[in-house]
């Protein structure tokens, strides 16, 4: 019996996990508020620490593996519970203090179900095992019939329980992405609403409303119930005797819409008058009007009145819209001012924190300083005497940040909150740092001859704890990687082996146990597996993406997993790339030293940089081999052009001579058309730069004012996560794909009346919306790009219009369609 596995400590751990499980199943643990959630999370966290501690106390790697298997049930239970609790915690943090008691109870119900179902499934599986053992005495056919008749229900029960458990887990996991999606939906629908209101405004201003009476009358709201009197037949006869015209006194008693209707009815009456008719035209409207009784002049006068009434009505509408817009603008302005003052307060506190850090710099390296937080991912040190002040400022800093975030949410402002520079490192680590530092101080204060052993042992214990905390992080990576490899159907042994390599590939590369070729093969295999795993993740979530049709928001769901995999992939790949492809082509670096006169060396490199450019340019453009470059250099210098240029410029400083020639050549290259690369013989004969091929590109300003979905571009600058950030150029990211790779336009961000309106190719009526924007003078200021190396529905991000170069696509005949 292995004492590393079968001992009191491991047994106690198993009992504690079982007790927690029982408490949840028997509903002894309730969840009604955030405090209770944190209590449970702390219990789980302590159990994890105990598990890690047991694991790392075992020196024998084989025993470690056996322990992992032995405690598989317990670790699986803790893993699921941790994941569920983290999701709830995150949900709470996103929603804020608005989470209601009943809501959190509902969520806890799902956790309870998961725990109880897991236990049930285990029992059913055990039942199935017992049944199978008992049936061993029967023949295979008998076993099949017996199972079908008596025990098929067991299989069904297990299946149902599994499905229910998965549903509950999914409901809780969705909390995380749901809230983020809701927030993004809110932003998305707000811009959608903005767009719709702008559309309405455009339509109202449209000239069609002026010219088309029918459209116009559809929009009139009859405000009062007052009706225009119908003329009786007798009255009509009387009217026919007199001139039919608008009674201005009566007209003035009516509201504007009724005035218009009245005038219209008078005109109809005039048009009905019989007799010889003439065609009368008025501003594009022509009617056959009777010549009798000044009908023509009356009709024309009615037209004039009607026209003026319509113009008045239209002006009223526009005025109303303007007033609404002003009110809205005022509201936003006030909110922005309030935000600015809050942000100013935050900056003041930030400055205080920076000052404290500055004042501690001179004490760095001594025991006078303690690490209290991180500043841009590096530890921040504060003098011990300033600790109280620091804590006060830090609490205020956090409070102001929270207030600002709530303020932005309440006022629907899309300002980007300040980048969080200060991050609190784990409290436990902070405490450990300070305890170690305090004990060291105590040690120094001791008189010579006094016993330091006890202090040393305490310090050593604390250092071990700190080490374990860092190890815990590595253990988590190992565990996740093992799960990843197991999900790809690798055996337990291989999964552990691969996971331990992927977690620390550098150690594997330096290991002397394996040959270089074997190491390369293993690393290659790991890289392939990680890549395949990325594909699996995408496949699984594609259904969700199709259901919701919110491509950008759904890609958030796979982003975190993808980030983890990408990081691990990059780590392993870096080690893999350090293996030479062809060992015989490697040359050992014997020595690395500093230059004697660095300044002179740098200057001489700077003066030859053009030549370096030429060589690298040749290599890139001509796809040449490295050995040939020497000949190319010679031939450049030997060309007639160069010699002529040399003669003309013989008065120039010789050190810049080749530079200016080459610059001149480079500038002429950029004006050239695409040409085929000449054959090698021709190239040797005629060595010029003019035959270098070039991708034909144009910038937005040069050619068109119209961008269409599907246009191709290359990127010259950063990528951004949202449309707003791309337009305002805040929080840029480095592009993941090569600058030369092509991207297509899948969304266009327009600026219209100081509002940013994104339109996506996936939207309904996207094309008509785009055309409406263009026709009304909206300016495109950003695009959403999808890279050629990604699959559908996976976008690279948003780009500013200034940071992209469009590529002429031969198939679309861009120039011909749009015209200049």
């Amino acid at each position: 019996m292995n004492p590393d596995i079968y001992n009191e400590r491991v047994a106690n751990f198993q009992i504690r996990v079982k007790n927690l499980q029982t408490e949840i199943i028997e509903k002894k643990i309730t969840m009604e508020n955030f405090f209770q959630l944190q209590t449970i999370m702390q219990k789980v966290s302590l159990l994890w620490k105990e598990c890690e501690s047991i694991f790392y106390n075992i020196k024998n790697p084989k025993s470690q593996d056996l322990l992992l298997v032995y405690l598989e049930n317990e670790t699986e239970f803790l893993k699921i519970l941790t994941s569920l609790l983290n999701n709830i915690e995150h949900y709470h943090k996103v929603v804020g203090e608005f989470i209601e008691k009943s809501e959190i109870q509902k969520i806890w119900e799902d956790v309870y179900k998961v725990v109880i179902l897991q236990d049930t499934i285990k029992k059913y599986n055990r039942g199935l095992e017992i049944v199978t053992e008992k049936m061993n005495k029967f023949s295979e056919k008998e076993r099949q019939i017996l199972f079908q008749q008596e025990y098929s229900w067991l299989g069904d029960r297990i299946k149902m329980a599994e499905e229910e458990k998965t549903e509950s887990i999914n409901r809780i996991e969705e909390l995380e992405s749901k809230e983020e999606r809701n927030i993004n939906n809110k932003m998305f629908s707000e811009s959608e609403m903005k767009r719709i209101s702008l559309e309405k405004e455009l339509k109202e201003k449209s000239k069609e409303a002026l010219n088309s009476f029918e459209n116009f009358f559809d929009k009139i709201d009859i405000v009062s119930e007052q009706k225009i009197p119908d003329f009786t037949e007798e009255e009509q006869k009387e009217l026919r005797k007199e001139d039919i015209q608008v009674d201005e006194e009566y007209l003035n008693t009516l509201s504007l819409p009724l005035q218009i209707e009245y005038v219209q009815s008078v005109m109809e009456t005039i048009e009905k008058v019989k007799g010889k008719k003439v065609t009368v035209k008025y501003k594009g409207v022509s009617k056959r009007i009777s010549k009798k009784k000044n009908c023509v002049s009356s009709w024309l006068r009615c037209q004039t009145i009607l026209r003026s009434l319509i113009i008045k009505y239209d002006e009223q509408v526009v005025q109303l819209a303007d007033e609404m817009e002003k009110e809205d603008a005022l509201r936003i302005q006030q909110a922005k001012e309030e935000y600015a003052s809050l942000y100013e307060k935050l900056q003041v506190v930030e400055n205080c924190l920076f000052k404290l850090a500055e004042s501690a710099k001179e004490f760095l390296g001594t025991k006078e300083v303690v690490a209290v937080s991180s500043l841009n991912k590096e530890p921040l040190y504060i003098h011990k005497k300033s600790l109280d002040r620091f804590n006060a400022y830090f609490v205020e800093y956090k409070r102001l940040q929270k207030e600002i975030n709530h303020f932005l949410e309440r006022h629907d402002l899309k300002e980007v909150p300040p980048v969080e520079k200060f991050e609190e490192i784990q409290t436990a680590k902070y405490e450990l740092y300070n305890q170690i530092s305090f004990l060291n101080e105590q040690k120094e204060k001791l008189n010579p001859g006094e016993n330091v052993d006890e202090l040393n042992s305490q310090i050593s214990k604390l250092r071990k704890e700190l080490y374990k905390m860092n190890k815990g992080h590595k253990f988590a990576i190992f565990a996740n990687l093992k799960v990843l490899f197991k999900s790809l159907r690798l055996s337990d042994d291989i999964s552990s082996f691969y996971a331990s390599i992927a977690e620390n590939p550098e150690k594997f590369r330096n290991s002397k146990k394996y040959k270089a070729n074997s190491k390369k093969e293993i690393l290659q295999d790991i890289l392939t597996k990680i890549q395949n795993s990325c594909l699996l993740t995408k496949e699984d979530l594609n259904e969700k993406i199709n259901e919701n049709k919110k491509k950008i928001n759904d890609s958030l769901g796979i982003q975190k997993k993808k980030d983890f995999l990408r990081e691990q992939f990059s780590k392993v790949r870096r080690e893999f790339c350090l293996f030479p492809k062809k060992e015989e082509k490697c040359t050992r670096i014997k020595r690395i030293k500093d230059s004697i006169n660095k300044k002179k060396l740098v200057e001489s490199i700077a003066s030859t940089v053009i030549l370096c450019c030429s060589v690298s340019g040749l290599l890139y453009l001509q796809n040449d081999s490295v050995e040939a470059h020497e000949k190319r250099m010679e031939s450049i210098l030997e060309t007639t052009e160069f010699k002529e240029y040399a003669f003309e410029n013989s008065h120039s400083d010789n050190s810049n001579f080749s530079n200016t020639f080459a610059i001149h050549q480079m500038e002429s290259i950029e004006e050239q058309q695409v040409k085929e690369i000449p054959g090698k013989e021709n190239y040797d004969k005629q060595m010029t730069f003019k035959s270098m091929p070039k991708k034909e590109t144009f910038s937005y300003d040069d050619v068109l004012k119209e961008i269409d979905f599907g246009d191709t571009f290359t990127k010259q600058g950063s990528v951004y996560r949202t449309a707003e950030e791309a337009v305002t150029k805040q929080n840029p990211y480095s592009t993941y794909f090569d600058k030369d790779s092509l991207s297509t336009v899948e969304g266009i961000v327009y600026k219209y009346n100081d509002t940013f309106v994104p339109i996506y190719s996936s939207q309904e009526d996207s094309e008509s919306l785009r055309i409406a924007m263009v026709n009304n003078g909206a300016e495109p200021v950003g695009v959403l790009g999808q890279n050629e190396h990604t699959t559908t529905n996976d976008y690279e991000g948003y780009f500013s219009i200034d940071d992209i170069q469009f590529v002429l696509n031969e198939e679309t005949e861009l120039m011909n369609e749009r015209g200049r």
């Binding site: 870096r574 490697c586 670096i589 690395i592 060396l601 940089v609 890139y620």
Partner: protein
């Protein structure tokens, strides 16, 4: 051994056995998790020998840092392009500062 940085002098074993040569690191990039170096030969007085320039990548051979010449056409093309862009920007800056 010291870390490889820009403008340091590397003494490299010559592959044809004709003795060691000194190169300076004129440029350096990280691309696809690999470190590429643009090397120019220098003489004993650290004067540049412009006719000998090459693109190599950093590898580990038998536990020691080594350089492998980049010969694979696609890789060479991609990396040369990156160096080309870097040098082009430097060149324009140099000319504008004159």
């Amino acid at each position: 051994m010291e870390k490889i940085e820009l403008y340091k002098i590397l003494t490299i074993e010559n592959e044809d056995g004709s003795g060691d040569k000194d190169y300076t690191v004129a440029n350096k990039i990280d691309y696809k998790e690999t470190t590429y170096l643009y090397l120019i030969e220098v003489d004993a007085d650290e004067n540049l020998i412009e006719s000998n320039q090459m693109i190599t990548k950093l590898v580990i051979k038998e536990g020691e840092e080594s350089l492998e010449k980049v010969t694979e056409p696609t890789e060479l093309k991609e990396v040369a392009r990156l160096f080309f862009e870097l040098f082009k920007d430097l060149a324009k800056e140099a000319i504008s500062n004159e």
